[in-house]
């Protein structure tokens, strides 16, 4: 190792060094951001104005504002002026309230061409903040591979040419610690962002944010998965961004009222310790507990979202992962002080394929989305296979959600004869073929064969298959689970109209972080009318956007609930926790917002992002269209698998008597009904959000929110 390190160090060439004045955070803010241009090696700080703070709040809000200023309507994802912005938020980095260590990453996505935002754990965002910056933006493109190093102890930023470091995250993650940490104890003060060789070749690249696991003495990662930011990162020829900060303590955010921050945090800690075992078991199994719940409610995506459950689903349940693979009895927070501790890990997992075959590694996860995407959706019901796919996606810098959903699409194309061995270069994509799924991953890493085509995602594959294989476009549009160019995350939405909207209207593309309304809508029947659904599709996306403004994780909001939550007026909102957030924000920043102003903070950024989408050519009604697979049964086989349910709906909801109709006719009739419902839902949501019937925020609405800046109104005026 020492010899390797010497070689790696010998390749380092300092391209730029910039000194800055250290200062402490004040009430959650530094009031400055860091700008790094790796083309011309400019490094500078930008001050944050009071207006920027009050308009964009922080986190993703700052990221969106900086990205808007950095790009033009013509900018493509691989142009040098595209940026990667990383920010915590004012609450980010406190060690008292569970889930306070998130970084928000923003960039123009290769998959969608519009802004993508990703919420990720690990230590980077908080350390960046304590190093002195509320956000950093990286612009330009390097000629050769580089590392950007931010030394928050000594006030230095360096751009270093780095030819000999590895690209895959589990290797470079360790190398970075050996290079930049002074000793074993110092490793906790270093965090890196890296991608992987898959990000070099695919458009579904993700970023790995590191954290040092003191107990297991290994580097761990959380992924900024969605939208291909890892691809942008490697296209810029960045191998890693590294930050150092020592001296973290409970008051590092310098809150206005530390005692209140501590009291609210302690209250939630106690709630989690007392109730988590009876509720979601996040401390034990993490988000994996969802796989059996989703299977039970017919919501677990199976065989490319055709179905919502499977007889073999128990083989990939949380109990199997827990009993056979996950390490037990050690805290698993991805940031300090998170007692929800859901960042699970399999230790000493021996790889059976690929370039690291035989190595024993740490596999972070599996998260529910990975189990759904890389397990049931592919017909893979073997927990070990899911973990191996999980590991390679992570280290290659590939998003497990996009990889799972796009491979499910490939498998259904295979089933329907669109693909065969000749077209895939010998790979067999029969449902459940884990071996060739892994080989596809390795091809993506090597930039070879069918992997090169597949790695660009479903939208590009549809174009390619139509052009080169003469595939039926309409069928592929129906079954290809993407919207705006982004692959769906892992829930079956056929029986929840509100959730169809939750995905279709999500600004970045179909990710569930804006709204998860399936139980409210489908199981509990709490939002029966279009207006009810529209209200939910206003409130929840706005409320959830707020986590991204603050550097917060969503999970401690409603994956743990107070014991008396069910007796409150609006249990779905978890009112006591909403109040916690209001109090926490005020205690850290010294401001005095209420819960309505909390929503207003989000609404400003949310509408700004919608206008940003329009500015980039993809923010109108036509772009909120969704594939029919997410709305209803595409095929006869699908319809017949739940024939009683669909017949009943035809009769009771659409007023059509199914008797005497062929299944083809019934599929068609149900489709007409459901597609019309989706359009009516969109009408209602746009109205509730203050948008025109074409999905454009009105001038009055922008004025009311205080974001009617000239360049914002100039974008919408063209569409009013």
């Amino acid at each position: 190792m020492t010899k390797d390190l010497e070689k790696i160090r010998s390749g380092h060439k300092l391209l730029k060094e910039w000194d800055y004045q250290l200062k402490t955070v004040d009430k959650g803010y530094n009031m400055r951001t860091l700008y790094v241009n790796i083309s011309d090696k400019t490094v500078k700080e930008k001050s944050v104005s009071e207006e920027m703070k009050m308009t964009f709040t922080g986190g993703k809000g700052f990221g969106m504002k900086l990205l808007w200023d950095g790009v033009t309507p013509e900018t493509k994802w691989d142009d040098p002026e595209n940026e990667i912005c990383i920010a915590a938020g004012p609450i980010g980095g406190n060690t008292n309230y569970p889930g306070s260590g998130k970084s928000l990453v923003v960039s123009l996505s290769p998959l969608t061409g519009i802004p993508i935002d990703s919420n990720v754990g690990g230590y980077f965002g908080p350390y960046l903040k304590f190093a002195g910056f509320d956000a950093m933006e990286i612009q330009g493109k390097a000629d050769k591979d580089v590392i950007i190093y931010i030394d928050g102890d000594n006030g230095k930023v360096q751009i270093i040419e780095a030819p000999f470091e590895a690209v895959d995250s589990h290797v470079i993650g360790e190398q970075i610690l050996d290079l930049f940490a002074e000793n074993e104890e110092d490793k906790m003060n270093i965090s890196s962002v890296s991608a992987g060789t898959g990000s070099d070749n695919a458009w579904i690249g993700c970023l790995n944010f590191s954290f040092w696991d003191k107990r297991r003495k290994g580097v761990r990662f959380k992924q900024a998965g969605r939208g291909g930011i890892g691809t942008v990162f490697r296209n810029k020829r960045i191998k890693a961004v590294v930050v150092r900060f020592s001296g973290l303590n409970g008051a590092s955010t310098h809150p206005a009222d530390l005692a209140t921050v501590q009291k609210i945090g302690l209250k939630l800690h106690k709630e989690i310790i007392a109730l988590d075992d009876q509720q979601c078991r996040m401390r034990k199994v993490g988000t994996a507990h969802l796989s059996e719940i989703m299977d039970e409610y017919d919501l677990l995506p199976t065989l490319n979202y055709k179905y919502g459950s499977h007889k073999d689903a128990p083989n990939i349940s949380s109990e199997v992962f827990y009993n056979e693979f996950l390490s037990k009895g050690k805290p698993d927070g991805c940031w300090y002080g998170c007692t929800m501790a859901c960042a699970k890990v399999a230790e000493d997992f021996e790889l059976k394929t690929g370039p690291y075959k035989g190595q024993k590694v740490l596999v972070d996860g599996p998260e529910y989305e990975t189990i759904g995407g890389c397990g049931s959706n592919l017909g893979i019901f073997n927990a070990r296979d899911v973990l191996e796919i999980n590991f390679y996606c992570d280290t290659y810098g590939l998003d497990t959600i996009s990889f799972g959903t796009m491979t499910a699409f490939i498998m259904e194309c295979w089933e329907n004869g669109i693909l065969d061995k000749e077209k895939t270069g010998g790979l067999d994509f029969t449902w459940g073929n884990a071996k060739d799924t892994l080989e596809l991953l390795h091809q993506i890493s090597r930039g070879e064969g069918f992997g090169k085509i597949a790695g660009k995602g479903i939208r590009q594959m549809k174009n390619y298959f139509e052009k080169h294989f003469g595939a039926d476009r309409k069928f592929m549009d129906d079954i290809g689970m993407e919207a705006k160019g982004l692959e769906y995350s892992e829930y079956v939405t056929k029986e929840s109209l509100a959730m169809q909207g939750g995905y279709g209207l999500a600004l970045k593309g179909p990710q569930h972080d804006e709204a998860w309304l399936i139980f409210m809508d489908m199981v509990q029947g709490l939002i029966p009318t279009f207006e009810d659904k529209a209200e939910a599709l206003h409130y929840f996306p706005m409320f959830r956007t707020w986590f991204g403004l603050q550097g917060l994780c969503k999970l401690p909001w409603n994956d743990i609930e107070p014991a008396d939550n069910a007796q409150t007026d609006e249990p779905a909102k978890v009112p006591e926790h909403v109040q916690n957030y209001v109090d926490l924000f005020n205690a850290i920043t010294g401001q005095s917002i209420n819960k309505e102003e909390l929503i207003l903070q989000s609404e400003r950024v949310y509408n700004f992002q919608r206008v940003f989408n329009i500015r980039m050519g993809k923010g109108l009604r036509e772009h909120d269209a969704i594939p029919y697979r997410s709305v209803g049964p595409v095929t006869v086989e699908e319809y017949e698998s739940r024939v009683e349910r669909y017949d009943k709906q035809l009769k009771e909801k659409a007023g059509i008597d199914p008797a005497g109709l062929s299944t083809e006719e019934k599929v068609k009739a149900l489709r007409k009904f459901r597609e019309d419902q989706y359009e009516q839902l969109i009408d209602a949501v746009y109205k509730r959000r203050g948008w025109t019937n074409n999905g454009v925020p009105t001038l009055e609405h922008l004025k009311k929110l205080g974001i009617a800046f000239d360049e914002v109104t100039a974008v919408v005026k063209k569409h009013l």
């Binding site: 060690t95 008292n96 906790m188 003191k214 107990r215 973290l248 303590n249 409970g250 008051a251 530390l258 005692a259 501590q262 009291k263 945090g265 302690l266 800690h269 106690k270 989690i272 310790i273 009895g329 050690k330 805290p331 927070g333 300090y336 002080g337 007692t339």
Partner: protein
């Protein structure tokens, strides 16, 4: 090896001298909020809350390994490593990890025995087992 402060609630008179001695030793003031042992009246007797050094859930929970077990079996907090998250306070099943509002770190009994030395009713005793 486990060294700990054993309590005899049936002997306790609730005089509170132990809390005075404890807070004076570690915080230089007489303040029951700053004592690692708490004596509270409950239904005709007294609840004596202090770490028994045995369950060690706090040691497992601490994200920075600021809590360790010394050779005598006593759980100690290294304040230089502590990041003030208070997870240990929440995980303690007997509420023996102490904290007062505004304190950067929690604190706990280290079985020093000063309170046992002054207890007028022999309700406290340092015990070594194993």
């Amino acid at each position: 090896m486990a060294k700990y402060l054993k309590t005899y609630p049936e002997k306790c008179t609730g005089c509170g001298i132990c809390m005075d001695v404890c807070s004076e030793t570690f915080f230089k003031e007489k303040n029951p909020l700053k004592s690692a042992i708490k004596i509270e009246p409950q239904e005709g007797s007294f609840l004596m809350t202090v770490c028994n050094q045995t369950c060690r859930l706090c040691v497992d929970e601490c994200p920075v390994q600021a809590l360790t077990i010394n050779p005598a079996g006593v759980v100690l907090l290294n304040k230089n490593k502590c990041i003030g998250c208070l997870a240990c306070v929440s995980v303690c099943p007997i509420n023996a990890m102490m904290w007062y509002e505004g304190a950067h770190s929690p604190f706990k009994c280290i079985a020093c025995g000063k309170c046992a030395d002054v207890c007028p009713s022999q309700a406290l005793e340092i015990v070594e087992e194993g």
